[in-house]
Symmetry: C2
Subunit: 211 residues, 2 copies
DNA sequence: CAGTACCTACAGACGTGTAGGTAGACGCCC
DNA sequence: GGGCGTCTACCTACACGTCTGTAGGTACTG
């Protein structure tokens, strides 16, 4: 139908976009190459012209996400400045990226719980370094006596879990929540930061530098 | 129900146990009936003698979990007593049940992110009522002026996300964390409760006008 | 001898990846 | 600038494995 633009790069990107939506919904095993092809508007075998196989497409789909998120993460958590401000910044930034492309978050969430070798590989390659960064960040804030003595690894897990579950829940629990995307996400971000700040703040009236 | 033969019930339970492990690892689509049968030590078609089809087994596997968790939840959150004590109790109780059978948590996590109709049905039937309970609990504590003014729905999501991600992460991030199951779970429970309590505690000493 | 619990064998559907063909764009040479 | 080969992006057709669910048989048990 569309005037076959025949630009390989353009098609490649459209395939990745479609793949993200499908992988986000169905996971690696559940996703069908046919459906991805349908979305792009090409025949299924043509996908194999652009990507060696399903797994290569899976990797490419994730690569594109983490290429966006990783620098945000790395810059925001650079070891200097007020950790509460940094925490605030990185949370907002990551959530903003995710809000912009909700498939991102859903696909990452989907892949995180997947034990399929293809998914495990993604997690090891792309997700784990970010978790390491976050753990180091919390640990550093504690060493400097700024953060409360909460387990950094579990605090990180909690934050990831909380952030990802929002995008999962948006679909799942829509019937009760009647989500209003931008407003709800703002509310969620606020709640999350509030909880994070409170959890990390030492018990007494120590630091209120955030927000 | 049909006249209960002693070995039939036993097999049924062994099938459910095996199914929980496989569904936890691979999700509904990824799980293979063959592998479930292998674990039980019977031929695959025999599964269809006990369960109409794959989905019926999927439902049965979840039913067994929620039958254990739901009463704990409902009793612990009954609207009386100190909400902080209740929060403490329900968290420990649910985490204890999950620790006892780690496949439970992993399967629920897996199913929660799954958009497959079979999974969506599970969530609507079993998971949503528990979320509703939790939201009502937080809302009640706030109405009584005991909990801080945090969004109850998002607080609940956060708690679920945090609890589930522990069991996911246990596998995924094992290489860096070198988990020591009982000890780590205890640490995690403590951290989680600490965070929950702090998040829900009104800002008594801190000078932040919200009241 | 009747019912239960399990078996073997098979059908049918589905999904990935490949083989091999084609239409158009592009340079090149006379 | 028209014929000519070549490359790119996509196509049709198909091989082939895998998985669910069923048909129909059998052994054990009371």
């Amino acid at each position: 139908m569309p005037p076959t633009d025949r630009s390989a790069d353009d098609t490649r990107e459209r395939i990745i976009d479609a793949a993200q939506a499908i992988f986000a919904r169905d996971g690696f095993v559940g996703a069908k190459m046919q459906e991805i092809a349908d979305r792009v508007g090409i025949q299924r075998p043509s996908l194999f012209y652009h990507f060696k196989n399903k797994e290569a497409l899976f990797v490419a789909a994730h690569e594109q996400i983490f290429a966006k998120i990783e620098p945000v993460f790395r810059e925001s958590l650079a070891p200097n400045g007020d950790p509460f401000v940094q925490l605030d910044r990185v949370s907002r930034a990551v959530l903003a990226v995710m809000a912009e492309e909700p498939d991102f978050a859903r696909m990452v969430a989907r892949t995180s719980v997947d034990r399929h070798p293809a998914a495990v590989k993604i997690v090891r390659t792309y997700l784990q370094p970010l978790v390491d960064l976050s753990v180091a960040f919390v640990r550093d804030g504690q060493r400097r006596g700024i953060f409360a003595d909460i387990d950094p690894f579990f605090f990180t897990l909690n934050s990831w879990g909380a952030a990802l579950i929002y995008f999962i829940a948006r679909d799942l629990l829509a019937p009760i929540a009647k989500p209003n995307e931008p407003k709800d996400l703002a509310r969620f971000t606020t709640t999350l930061l509030q909880m994070g700040n409170r959890a990390l703040a030492p018990n007494e009236r120590r630091a209120q530098r955030a927000s």
